[in-house]
Symmetry: C2
Subunit: 338 residues, 2 copies
Amino acid sequence: MAQQKSNGHKRLQDESLKAEQSGYIIGADIGGTSLRLALADLSGNILARSSTSTVGIRDAALIVSLISDGVESLLREQALRLDSVRAIAAGAPGITDPAEGVVIATSYLMGWRNVPLRALLEEALGVPAAVDNDVNLAALGESLAGAAKGVDNFVFIAIGTGIGAGIILNGHLFRGNGWSAGEIGYMLVPGTSEQPTERHKPGALEEVAGGEGAKAQWRSRWDQSRTSLSKDAIASEIFDHAADGNPLAQEVLELSARTLAYAIYNIWLVLNCDLFVLGGSVGLHPALRDAAHRILATRRIRVEPRVISSSLGPDAQLMGAIFLAIETAKTRFLVTTP
Amino acid sequence: MAQQKSNGHKRLQDESLKAEQSGYIIGADIGGTSLRLALADLSGNILARSSTSTVGIRDAALIVSLISDGVESLLREQALRLDSVRAIAAGAPGITDPAEGVVIATSYLMGWRNVPLRALLEEALGVPAAVDNDVNLAALGESLAGAAKGVDNFVFIAIGTGIGAGIILNGHLFRGNGWSAGEIGYMLVPGTSEQPTERHKPGALEEVAGGEGAKAQWRSRWDQSRTSLSKDAIASEIFDHAADGNPLAQEVLELSARTLAYAIYNIWLVLNCDLFVLGGSVGLHPALRDAAHRILATRRIRVEPRVISSSLGPDAQLMGAIFLAIETAKTRFLVTTP
């Protein structure tokens, strides 16, 4: 009996392996400004990718139809049929329940509440789907193929328009009781406002240190006689300007870096993890990383954590989605095959 | 063969069970002001206990001899011999490596550095020993027999002279890469100093919110015309005074509670855990708990965490040490029996 079972199991694995080798998956990264898609094989090699603007789009059904159209284009481009796709996984910019496949709440930018994204994707594409928080997927990406490969405990901090963290503990994503572990955009440190945050507004830390925060700090200090840079500059332009030696831009960089360093320090006190990986369009700026590291070094930490840049860069979220899709393809196949 | 193995294993378990039923363990809680000992059976029932002052004692060897003397007294009192003791476990007030049995660093009060406490205890008593951080043991105590029984994710916050946290994630103590997870006495929140902490000095959060912090805040505000309480009052007296309606004491309570609430909020953002258990001589004060809870409620958290008092009270650390000693007795017995 045990022997039979084992043989049956082996056959299943062989078939599974064959199908895996012949199938494909889709990774999707749903952002506030763009939707990025990748078609990959079951080893994670990307065959094709696409990007579409999502600026101004808040409706989940519209996002799903953009994904559906994008997947069709990618498949057409590669002369593949939809039935060769084994699974799709999508990262959503908000608190996500991966067990139920529901996006509980996105940030003030998109305003989603309890969107059954997994079901919507499965209905639209007819393939197994999985969803998770985008920053969690980025942490997974860095953990499996990026700057934190093989590191059991680390924190990925995504700094773009807002700020969020993905936490890997004992080699696994730590999500918290309400799936919102790592929502550090609301963290209170010296220099942040103590006023409770209004709904649909940036968090206390984001007001100072995120992309929006840096822009706001720049606008409030801007003085034509002290800079050649536009009052409407974005964070990366301001940080470039600081690196070029402009004192006004350096003030804004210093403020961003100090609040970020304090947030990292507080997370380190709680988790005592060795490694922080900075990602996101703003977090990838080397001037921010170096300034944060310099400030952190003044805290007299017994064993200082490393603060490094994401090695996957803007692809971290997408790579995480690809890994989740591969996992989904494997799991769902074994479960649903007779 | 498998059958034989199974029988052999059963015999070992039976013998182990018999020895467990007949043996005893010692739990020790090493504090900055007192050493507390308990003699318990292998079900955790306390048969006898003792307490000795440790005020002014900084030498580890002296603490170990106090423990050794205390254990002898407890055994004599119960007409028991040392060879009936299966194990001892001790909680130390500092960063502790339980794997190596070494106290890496205690707070500014005792000043221990790399003390091989487990080896010292085993040498002094001749029984298997285990050591851990006292706040971690308190969290373990609350998890197994206290206010957090059966809760998989929670944070125990001990507020005495200083402030520290024990973190239970997925039902297990989370200790961090350098064994210092939960060292939140250094946390930076609005209202704490941004100056890096000097060695042998309280952390930023402790300067405002711990027992020493509350005393310092009281002294700096004290005005004979506004209070009948002594300038040298301790935190619990100040909080009692606040509960009685004294505005000056209420200022100090409010400041302690606000910084504590901010620290809880920051930990909640990182871990998203449902439950915070407050313990320690200062943390057990209901006025502090209620004020912190009121301030936390203003933060507009989607699903607010519960903030409750430790149910084991001053025994939390000791109960954790008892559980660790029982675990040690079971593990060491199975390992060393032929």
